[in-house]
Symmetry: D2
Subunit: 338 residues, 4 copies
Amino acid sequence: MIRVGIIGATGYTGEEAIEILLRHRQAKLTALTALPEECGQIQDIFPRLRGRIAMAVEPLDLPAFAASVDVALGCLPHKVSMGFVPKLLDAGVKVVDFSADYRLRDVALYEKHYTQHTDRANLAQAAFGLPELFRKNVVGKKLVANPGCYPTCAALGLAPLLKEGLVRLDRIVVNAVTGVSGAGRKASLPYHLPEMNENLFAYAAGGTHRHSPEINQICSDVAGKPVNVLFQPHVGAFDRGILSSIYAEPTGDLSTAKLADLYRDFYHNEPFVRVLAAPPKLKAVQRTNFCDLHPLVSADGRHVIVFSALDNLIKGASGQAVQNLNIISNITETEGLL
Amino acid sequence: MIRVGIIGATGYTGEEAIEILLRHRQAKLTALTALPEECGQIQDIFPRLRGRIAMAVEPLDLPAFAASVDVALGCLPHKVSMGFVPKLLDAGVKVVDFSADYRLRDVALYEKHYTQHTDRANLAQAAFGLPELFRKNVVGKKLVANPGCYPTCAALGLAPLLKEGLVRLDRIVVNAVTGVSGAGRKASLPYHLPEMNENLFAYAAGGTHRHSPEINQICSDVAGKPVNVLFQPHVGAFDRGILSSIYAEPTGDLSTAKLADLYRDFYHNEPFVRVLAAPPKLKAVQRTNFCDLHPLVSADGRHVIVFSALDNLIKGASGQAVQNLNIISNITETEGLL
Amino acid sequence: MIRVGIIGATGYTGEEAIEILLRHRQAKLTALTALPEECGQIQDIFPRLRGRIAMAVEPLDLPAFAASVDVALGCLPHKVSMGFVPKLLDAGVKVVDFSADYRLRDVALYEKHYTQHTDRANLAQAAFGLPELFRKNVVGKKLVANPGCYPTCAALGLAPLLKEGLVRLDRIVVNAVTGVSGAGRKASLPYHLPEMNENLFAYAAGGTHRHSPEINQICSDVAGKPVNVLFQPHVGAFDRGILSSIYAEPTGDLSTAKLADLYRDFYHNEPFVRVLAAPPKLKAVQRTNFCDLHPLVSADGRHVIVFSALDNLIKGASGQAVQNLNIISNITETEGLL
Amino acid sequence: MIRVGIIGATGYTGEEAIEILLRHRQAKLTALTALPEECGQIQDIFPRLRGRIAMAVEPLDLPAFAASVDVALGCLPHKVSMGFVPKLLDAGVKVVDFSADYRLRDVALYEKHYTQHTDRANLAQAAFGLPELFRKNVVGKKLVANPGCYPTCAALGLAPLLKEGLVRLDRIVVNAVTGVSGAGRKASLPYHLPEMNENLFAYAAGGTHRHSPEINQICSDVAGKPVNVLFQPHVGAFDRGILSSIYAEPTGDLSTAKLADLYRDFYHNEPFVRVLAAPPKLKAVQRTNFCDLHPLVSADGRHVIVFSALDNLIKGASGQAVQNLNIISNITETEGLL
């Protein structure tokens, strides 16, 4: 039985990680931490968990925490996270980190989009935990950077095209719509129900979202050449899920049938990617660890379109983290997730 | 042309009052005020108004305000309101006040549920502005207390029964569900979309809501005897509207047909009350000044049930305020509201 | 491993039953049936299940079905169900029946509210499967009538009061609001999203809903005397869940503290009933088998109020059915449900 | 006073047209028609209208209709519409037609996407009623083809770019999300609330939507050269509104500031187009006749993006129709619409 602790357990990703681990047969939750002002019994913080778990969320006491867990899920924001990760690793705890701190190999890029990087040593050792694309790198690692929700959705949609060099690398547009849980568990006027209900709008307009460099890094790794994607996020009036509509220009003759074959082959052994014959519906991926894909060529043959859908809190966060946890713990990768 | 100013224009009731007044042919907006930190151009604060109005919201400068308006709509919270109302009245401005400050005749009751009352003189002069029940009192008044949203909904549903003495006065239950706009335009975790979406719950459980004494005052006035209602509010995952399901015990033989006649007669000349032959739907009253009613006797004859529905921001606030504004300004009561 | 078949697998309760059984460690799905025109691969009918199950839904072939299952979950409408149940029982298959056909002991009452009863023999043998109240009756049974969603919600809320004789039995009002899935998986104009979104309304007004006699039967059994409840359902703009707000008149002195103790004691050993210190939120029970309760006495002491919340598709249908399946199969009652 | 009749008054566009005309000071509704099985009192069909209008919807009796109206709003589906329009015109009634029958000048294109065209004579005389782009053509016309909702949204977003030749004409992608009212007032399983709530998905994938040729016709007219847009629609879980996110490749150096100037100039005198400094929110255009635009250049300068939002039932249908009605009736264009 792998012992798991969650650092920063009181946000939405913490809640989802707990839900998943309660059904996991080879891992058990042994510690939950949060900022002092957010501590309490987890079943009071998330009333839906009452009757399923009774456990205190406590301020992080690193030695005690390290003694009680084998793996930590780090549900902290960037910058805060790299303050704790080195200490956890030094104490012998493996870490699946949800923040952006260990995702971008290029420190300059990280520092441009986020803040000064203070843990380059571990950054160099971290695996980028998108198993469908980089599983081999994750095996045996002590530190896994769990990918962002948007990058997971976009990259799984684009990977087969990029791997095979079927589209122009400089004309890709990713139009994504996320549910409001993507903005976190903090009240703010734009997401107050009477403001957000029935609403839909773009934000971070024109490629300025911090997930852009992460998407480009993954895509470039898969393509083996620099890829420059325009990533445009939107937020819609629903709890959870991301639908990415991806537009690209084919470099040669392509057909929808050929794409369907390509995608089915590419993801043939992947338990969490479903290649569909029609555009995916968000509702079919909500509360699952699946990413649903539908690639096609436009009627006039001039565009490749890929629709990619996942749950931002599961495949885009806590589900994928448990996938990574399973891999680095030598547990069947699907455990707790089907 | 009546000149109207709105004090506290940056909340939901302010926004609705502006919407209504923009279509009003005998009133025009001449001043908008708010707390200094909330000031700006109204079309920036409420982008839906852009292209229809261009006007600054400014901190209240009482002499300037009084010089520019005939009637003020006071969209302020209780206590704050009675700080301004006497000055407005002294300056010759009529006031339709949205707060609770001038609604309860019994000062002790007000002070029990709210705070110390500091303007008893004007309280004694104020009309309770529920035109369908107390129109005569409103005519010619300088200060009108605009009723609460829940009390309007409950009282219009109960009035014919109470007037005719058809139900026991001590066994009435009002089960009401409101949309989230009833909680105002302030972000808070319970109304953050991912928390509230798909949600429904009771609050102020057991008759503890501040609107209880107001409901009882109206009902007692209509009945001519003390009425003691159990008022139980809930909040649901929609923007706006209140549906009250009212349960009472008949004092004698009653039938649905008889009730239908009674209600149609009672509201015969009322342009904003619609007596229906089936339970009202919230969607049919949203963004209107109507209150939809459906009274019936239960299959076993032992209960009277009345369903009452209205829009909390219109008939429950700004629409009713414009009704009162029209009455005290000698304008056709429906102007701007149909 | 218990082999389970679902008859009528293509509705919402079928979908939920499959979801639950996929996580069940001592039961496995061996057959799915539906009307011929609704057959197909279950993963095509419910795309969210793809990747988790691949199984054909086939027209019911009774001998083959009986040979392949130990227990059948009958997700059929009333009348249709009692056409199949006798044959299943004769073939040695245990049945948990979701329809109303075996719920009402009083045939005359059934025939008044539904249709002619054609299987009185089995009706007399059936257990009413509300384990928290009648567990002993369920153990060892071959036929279990799975209760209605509304009756489960209302009865769990009322049972402690009735058992202890704390309220008048003829003045109880159950005001319930359900999500739209309660209306089944059939398109109709009132539930077309642009009609239903942001909407809320009462239906079956005045105690005419078919669940009324079922609620009264359960309540009378618990009270040991005739109980006559006014049950008033509403439908709101959300997928799933029921919130019942129950109003009753105390027969003597009561306090909220006393009620809290009573309810905690009454449900002390029940894994699926959570007695809360505040009104339950629908969101905390959605997609769970819990029923959340909060009893209180009104501020003036004249009313007892109980809020009861559950998921109509889980504790109100498929979850409770699996509870019953577990009981009659000698499996831990919570298996698959936490 | 212009007399207006609505043919096909029982759908969502009919309802909205009535709402608008009730506030119109120079037009009055004199006739409402529908298929015989959908007739009745309009206030029973749309209960929200009760108390504002009392009028029968009757089967179309052409001579009587023609005698009672000056202008007809034809809210009929394609093919059906061109069966009536010639008769109305012959009877001296002006027509604003909501269907696709008179929108596409190229009959072959119409016949490819719709059906055989049976009224080429009037097609040649019809004006395409997008006033912001083709107002001059509308003035004085007897037949106006009211544009589609998606084409209006896309074309208003693209027009300034196309007019000035600032983007490549063969690499434009229009990613649009509509509310469910766009699918009409007919129940179907995909839009049953429990299926659609919280959902989002693409349809008519790959440029196969019938509005594609209409978008290309408008864009080509504005550009003066053939434009070939990829139009990809989606449907989201909200009542109404369309948000188009438009992606194009600049042909030369551009900046966001330059685009802002261009758009403000282009729409300088247009009362219903609002050029914003930030991405538009759907909620700000719902229930208005505005189209909100925000053009920008991506951070890397390689993409032009335009966000365009409108209400599909107002600016995308009935509001625009009243704009056209006003123009051909020599009424102030904004009457009834602000």
